[in-house]
Amino acid sequence: MDNKEIESAIEAILFAAGEPIPASRIALVLGISDDEVHECAKKLSDEYSFNRRGIRLARMGDSLQLCSAPEFSQEIVRALERRKPPRLSQPALEVLSICAYFQPVTRAYVDQIRGVDSSYTMGVLLERGLIEACGKLDVTGRPSIYRTTELFLRTMGISDLSELPKLPEAGSDESREQLGSLLEAVKAEEIKQMSIEEN
């Protein structure tokens, strides 16, 4: 085997392996010294970098590994990601709205308002980066408190929480009225939604 062939053999072995392989193992199989393996691997690696190829050869201690070039990581993710995460469900929107309007909130607080356990949905929102933990409440049990994130503002297309639509003031007659009409609006919307889904 000449050096060119050794390079190709190393490339083939590392490709099929996918994971780091000790140079000594390759040396054994090809009947050459560890140093020769590292030399050829170095040449291969330089060639990848110099030609701005889509793959890179990394050396970690005695081991060698092929990996995709980091320059193309965005293209890779976009080509290979299965599907976008789903849009927010109605429960998720509810929890998010409670977090947004009453932040900072504890999970127990959200549960209390919604009347159902919201831990799963809170988890989803945390994972999606729409809410974040921002400390512990200074009461018994020291529960975590949550607030909305920068990403939340971007998602809603606003630059500040103050741009959220105003809630009616609690307690006043005026607010009862407002609340009443909003409730009507929500119900009408729900009925509309249902009929759309049924079609």
Partner: protein
């Protein structure tokens, strides 16, 4: 998944009037159809056959009337065989059934012979391919793993919020009312500040504000600092252009609880 009804590719079988001469009768055509289309006569839909034949006939008529008449005959014969097959009972093995199975046998034999003739070539073709290894997928970089990437209208939040409250009312609770915010008490904040200052001699004011996690907490901090200053518990001084807080006395014994909202 449903398989589509088989389509007869007559164009591939009958190319010219010359070729038509090779057909000695309808049966030859049936055999050809069976071998080219791998169809079972029992699985055919009569209407499918008729549609395809009539379409072909109308095309052929434009070209050659003789051929057209040949096809009418063949089509009618196929339909006839099909009808016979349908009408004959399961237990009754008609002459036609026997005929069909002999045809099947011939067809299978021919197909098997053809297949055997190519396996050697396929074996040779596969020699290299069988020696190629694929690799495991690389783990995807997680830089945008779960991050949400849709946009919403702020109004959707209000709608969601009210649907929460409308659920509560419909489940027999009291009239809808806005829940109270979690409110930071000034007293609570003041004792927290005293605690902090006990542990370190002086803290920049900026840091006290930075540890506040919400606007209400920020306001609580602001008022607490003012209150504690006025009671002489803490003192503000300028430290290299930055305001810092230091503890100079004990907090007031009776600190009235004051709450506020944004």
């Amino acid at each position: 998944m449903k398989m589509k009804n088989p389509t007869f590719h007559l164009e591939g079988i009958v190319k010219s009037s010359d070729e038509m001469q090779d057909f000695t009768g309808p049966l030859t055509l049936i055999l050809m159809l069976l071998s080219k289309n791998k169809i079972e006569i029992r699985d055919l839909k009569i209407s499918e056959i008729l549609d395809q034949y009539l379409e072909h006939i109308s095309k052929m008529q434009e070209m050659d009337l003789d051929i057209a008449s040949e096809f009418v005959q063949m089509a009618s014969h196929l339909v006839y065989i099909k009808t016979r097959t349908l009408l004959s009972g399961d237990e009754e093995v008609s002459e036609l059934e026997e005929l069909m199975s002999s045809l099947e046998q011939i067809r299978c034999h021919d197909a098997y012979m053809s297949i055997k003739a190519v396996t050697e070539e396929l074996s040779r073709m596969s020699q290299q391919g069988l020696l190629m290894f694929s690799k495991e997928p690389e783990p995807l970089k997680t830089f945008d793993s779960g991050e949400y990437r849709y946009s919403h209208q702020p109004q959707e939040l209000i709608n969601a919020l009210f649907s929460v409250f409308s659920k509560n009312t419909s489940s027999g609770q009291e009239t809808p009312s806005m829940p109270k915010r979690i409110i930071y008490g000034v007293r609570q904040k003041s004792s927290q500040l005293i605690e902090l200052l006990r542990n370190s001699s002086s803290i920049p004011l900026r840091e006290l504000y930075e540890i506040s996690r919400s606007r209400s907490e920020l306001i609580a901090t602001f008022i607490s600092v003012l209150e504690l200053c006025s009671h002489g518990s803490i003192s503000l001084y300028s430290n290299g252009g930055e305001m810092s807080v230091t503890l100079i006395g004990e907090p007031p014994e009776d600190f009235t609880e004051e709450t506020f909202s944004e």
